[in-house]
Amino acid sequence: MDGILDPLILARWQFGLTTLYHFLFVPLTLGMVLAVAIWQTAWVRTGKLKYLQLTRFFGKLFLINFAMGIVTGIVQEFQFGMNWSEYSRFVGDIFGAPLAFEGLIAFFLEATMIGLWIFGWDKLPPKLHLLTIWGTMAGTWISAYFILAANAFMQNPVGYELNHATGRAELVDILAVLTNPVALAQMPHTIAASVMFGAGIIAGVAAWHLKRGRNEEIMRPALKYGLVSMILGGIGVIFSGDQLGLVMVATQPMKMAAAEALYNTATGADASFSLFTWGTPDGTHELWSIRVPYLLSFLSTHTMDGTVEGINDLQAQYTALYGPGDYAPIIWVTYWSFRWMMLFGFVSIAVAIVGLWVTRKGATTKPWMWNVAIWTSFFPLLGILIGWIFTEMGRQPWIVFSLLKTEAAVSPNVGGLSVLISLLAFTLIYGALAVVEFKLLLKAAQSDPQEFTATDDAIGQGDGEVADTAGADRRATPDRLTVEASVY
């Protein structure tokens, strides 16, 4: 097969497209559900109406996003079998288990709890209703863990044996699969990065309102939550990313070498980290670069005099181990994606730190400062998407590192035309939905938070509960305030 109808290339493009598209929605769900759960807890505990308003306002953004996460997620599960049947046959014994756990333990919980949360506002007592948003969060976070455990097997296969009679990998130790060091480092990395994205959107939306002087009493706390959780999430991303780097060097040294475009093994000061490189287009000849000595050694081994293996040495090793072939990923992709990922992360953290300073009590804020917060709000998402491109492209040519090559994993009986049709269909429908989705999110983000006014008999009529009618700290008794549930 060749040209445009090569099923392998088309299937890879489809997987990349649908997975990245799915991951537009996943991190916002993972990050936003935490904020919504925290605010709803604050509302139930303190009775301050601003927390209820925050819960409802950002809950709406969360929900618009949630439906897309679900429907695009089904595609993910189906296409392992549709496009990658040889892969499914080869690893099904191992890879299927975390997917089944994910469905049984996490998806059922998440899908049930979200329905109760959306439609249960006026049907469940406040504390029970609060439990449903935490249940939703548990479901989404647990599902992230299982799918990362499944992905970790592809990066660093553990807990398996090769059955030479069938040519399949077979599970021998489920605990090893679930405690794969790659999964244990990827999990906090993914969650912390998702908290950053949720934080970025919350801070960006708050900045949009504050720039116009709207909804101060609601959006001030939102901004603060966004900036603080951006910094905390950022710290989590840095530490877990460092850990993930160490694991990567131990399990996939080629990926680290490719991340640095390090062709020859280097030690100590020579194991430098380049911030920027200008080279020939194929990436093999460097013309000019800015380098930090020792840094690559430190990132890879946590010592200043460590040795980092180069692509050429690894290529020779792998050829000896796995036979002739090209074992390096596309270097310019890994090199640049590694840098852009980190750049978007660090800029987000820097904006948050400066943001906290310029919005401190008594400081005057200029319009351009709000604009910076608005326009950098999606930077964490870019970092996350590019990070996935790095980790998946960096594994090539393998689909399961050291066991199965991507080219051997594709469905042999699905023709290029079929894959082209599905690729076009997904591109069109996903593109159309992205436009609708973005408009709806924008509209919801620019609307005013719902008011819970003093006409509610719950306000100021609680037994001995005196309503504080002075602006920001208005209270009500959660048990007595009827909050209308959503209606489709």
Binding site: I70, V71, M82, G96, L104, E170, S411, S422, I429, L440
Partner: protein, 364 residues
């Protein structure tokens, strides 16, 4: 009983659950243009499944993942073999799912009508194609020695599978209409009942033909028994519907779906996919399954988790057990007047607080 057999039935159970639950979602979606004459009515219909469609759809994700984990060969062959059919199902499920969320976001009548049609088509297409797919599985596929499907998309559209597809299409339509009689009041409830009686006749003809063909061509005792249960349950459901016993009619309708899907699995067992080209390469629960270790680990997980899942999902259905009235959509109690009059005419009680609101609105 061996592990592979246990897992065959667990997967069967998950698909039965999926078809009972998403089956009525599909039916409600298909009912939109027939039962929902006004926008308010269509919103009443959508809100009967609003809180649960998502958890219902999750059953297919869990069923699919369990299929993958327990029978990787089955998963790989079906999903790559039915490539274009599954693509269409996926697109339909995407269109339907987002439409629930998007249609009410308000951009005028055209916007709403567009998403209504996506719900109708997004419900009817999977209802049809799931039947086509399962009939093809029972019938078997033309596979090579590595279980790769060798036929084309058009080979999947044969008389038996098309009959299967029309059976699930109409059966889910009926199932959804009966669900509506249990979840609505007054006009909508009676419209749904009347249409269910008509659709039920078509279901009876198609289902009996399809199940008889299944039993005759792929005989197994279990398949025969379950097919008979399905037919009896359907007759019971139809009669209960006639007698205005909504809950009973729905329960027996669900049993019809369960028994019919069970009959397909019963006819298949212990095969996973008969090979129509060379029976020597038929895929069975033994040459298509994961190792005993994997099946054991998963069995423990399923035994620990599934009862909990059934418990909290059952509780969810109980929380949302109330009938949906027009006033729940419009916020105006007067909109229930006509419905409550019909309910009163039929001698059915209207909850006190609602009838009070109604009479108040009526006199005003």
């Amino acid at each position: 009983m061996d592990l592979a057999a246990i897992w065959f039935w667990i997967v069967g159970f998950l698909f039965v659950g999926y078809f009972i639950l998403d089956g009525f979602d599909f039916g409600v979606g298909m009912a939109l243009p027939f039962i929902g004459k006004t926008d308010t009515d269509r919103r009443v219909l959508i809100n009967t499944i609003g809180p649960v469609w998502d958890l219902n759809e999750t059953w297919v994700i869990v069923a699919g993942a369990s299929l993958f984990a327990a029978f990787p060969e089955w998963y790989a062959t079906i999903f790559s073999g039915f490539y274009l059919a599954l693509l269409v199902i996926l697109l339909a499920l995407i269109a339907r799912g987002v439409s629930f969320e998007y249609r009410h976001q308000g951009h005028g009548a055209n916007w709403t009508r567009w998403f209504d049609w996506m719900i109708v088509v997004g419900s009817a297409v999977p209802a049809l194609l799931w039947g086509v797919a399962f009939a093809n599985i029972v019938q078997g596929l033309d596979m090579d020695a590595s279980f790769n499907y060798m036929g084309t998309f058009w080979d999947l559209l044969n008389p038996y599978s098309l009959l299967g597809g029309l059976t699930t299409l109409t059966l889910f339509f009926y199932h959804g209409l009966v669900f509506l009689t249990r979840k609505t009041v007054g006009e909508i409830r009676e419209r749904a009942r009347a249409l269910a009686m008509k659709v039920g006749v078509v279901v009876a003809v198609l289902a009996i033909a399809f199940l008889a063909w299944t039993v005759l061509a792929h005989f197994s005792v279990l398949g025969l028994v379950l097919a008979l249960v399905a037919v009896l349950a359907f007759v019971g459901s139809y009669v209960a519907n006639l007698l205005h016993r909504d809950g009973l009619a729905f329960g027996l309708g669900a049993l019809t779906v369960a028994a019919a899907v069970g009959a397909l699995f019963g006819s298949l067992f212990p095969n996973l996919l008969p090979n129509t080209d060379d029976p020597a390469f038929t895929m069975t629960i033994h040459n298509g399954s994961s190792t005993d270790y994997t099946l054991t680990v998963m069995l423990w997980a399923a035994l620990c988790i599934l009862p909990l899942v059934l418990l909290y999902q059952g509780w969810t259905f109980w929380v949302f057990r109330k009938r949906i009235r027009r006033s729940a959509i419009t916020g105006n109690a007067a909109d229930d007047a006509a419905d409550h009059a019909i309910e009163a005419e039929r001698g059915r009680a209207v909850p006190a607080e609602l009838s009070a609101a109604h009479s108040g609105a009526h006199t005003a």
